[in-house]
């Protein structure tokens, strides 16, 4: 075989992957904490999540800057180029999921310490599935696992079903008592954030498929 070249570039690509995984872990942690804080109406955690979203944003900008630097200085080609292009997209998706956690933090502040309009059953389940999907997608990204990237978005239906149930229950409550509109809406927004988080995991999986195959692929989410 020929001489192995560009070891420092290869190391930089590894760092880029590691940073993306780190960003993913931060986002998963934030999302889990946000739903737990919602359950406990923990204002301190809610405020911390809103503040710490800045850290997630900064990490995403650092990853983006690293991608641009590598494109400008290393002229990446083929698989390397696709990886960097995918990281640019994936880091954006992760940052947006981080925004959903921050959004739930804001909802908690709006709700305050008063008792929730209904017990939290489906929303934590949505969070569990969405964060599980996200963790699996990060694993698939690390291992460039095409099969997993194709399978993970199938679970989006479970999240959608739960969201539809939450939506239906809350609308029914509003129809019965319109004075509950605000309190129902808060939970609806939280559920919607989780539903969107799962959608963004599917986008991440599309980018993993692109990295591995070079083909632009879109899941039919209907």
């Amino acid at each position: 075989m020929g001489q192995l070249l560009r070891t420092s570039f290869a190391r930089e690509l590894e760092t880029l992957q590691t940073d993306t995984l780190m960003l993913g872990s931060m986002v998963i942690q934030a999302l889990k904490e946000s739903v737990e804080a919602l359950r406990r109406r923990d204002m301190d955690v809610a405020r911390r999540l809103i503040k710490e979203d800045e850290i997630i944003n900064k990490k995403r900008f650092q990853i983006e800057a690293d991608c641009l630097r590598l494109i400008a200085t290393q002229q990446p080609m083929a698989g390397d180029l696709r990886l960097i292009a995918a990281v640019l997209e994936i880091s954006t998706e992760l940052e947006r999921i981080g925004d959903y956690a921050k959004g739930i933090g804001r909802i908690i502040l709006l709700i305050g310490t008063e008792v929730l309009i209904k017990p939290l059953v489906d929303i934590p389940k949505m969070c569990d599935i969405a964060t599980e999907m996200l963790q699996q997608s990060l694993d698939a990204f690390l291992h460039q696992d095409l099969e997993a990237a194709r399978a993970i978005p199938l679970r989006d239906d479970e999240v959608d079903d739960l969201y539809n149930r939450v939506h239906r229950d809350l609308i029914e409550m509003i129809l019965e008592d319109t004075s509950l509109i605000d309190r129902c809406n808060y939970l609806l927004w939280a559920a919607h954030n989780l539903e969107r988080a799962a959608d963004r995991v599917s986008n991440i999986c599309e980018r993993i498929i692109f990295t591995v195959t070079g083909e632009f692929f879109e899941f039919d989410m209907n």
Binding site: M1, L5, M77, A78, T213
Partner: protein, 277 residues
Amino acid sequence: MTVALERPAQTQSSQSAAYANGTGSFAIEAGGMGVYYGNFCAVRDVDMRVPTNKITAIIGPSGCGKSTVLRCFNRMNDLINSARIEGEVLFQGQNIYDDSVDPVEVRRRIGMVFQKANPFPKTIYENVAWGTRINGFRGDMDEMVEKALRSAALWDEVKDKLQQSALGLSGGQQQRLCIARAIAVEPEIILMDEPASALDPIATLRIEDLMKELSEKYTIIVVTHNMQQAARISDFTAFFSVDEYRTGNLIEFDETEKIFTNPSQKSTEDYITGRFG
């Protein structure tokens, strides 16, 4: 470098599909082409179809036979005593190695520009006029010289000093003069062997722009060591590698975009990503 032999993966993607299914036209079609220098097989079994009025780049590591292949396309290897060509090179349906074919006529219709600018030690005007004159040109020579110099994007820089020595021009200007000289005889194909490798970055970009303009009228085949240049300027790319016998092989030929974003062959990917060299 040695790599496992792979069959060339030709014309896989969308734009090249037109060429794969026969609706595109080809300026050169090499079939089973091999080149020997004495007993040494420099290049083996090349099947390659070069689309008309496109820029095709030939890339690969040193010693893979890029320039050898290029020189086969206008019989420049005839000038090397020990060189022997196998297979065929079709130009407009005719094998240019047929006994009935005049190599001088081949070289008029398939011109060449070399790595190092090599103007004749004559005036700028004469450099352009010379080729057409010996081909018996009977038209308006001044007009022809101006047209060739304009096509080579050199006219504005030399129009007031046409009778000065070409050797007084800068390296980039000399190379564009050589391109003007090549196109003056109205070839159909221009072969370029590392045409910008001796030039500074600005002169290089001028040559690249010029190649893009020329590709509207001519088929261009360019050998380059500069992969970014191949990626920037070419429509199609041929990747050659060298096997354990130091023989060059065509590994992959495809649309340039495909080669540089998602090549079919692992050895292509290893080369263009700089993993192995």
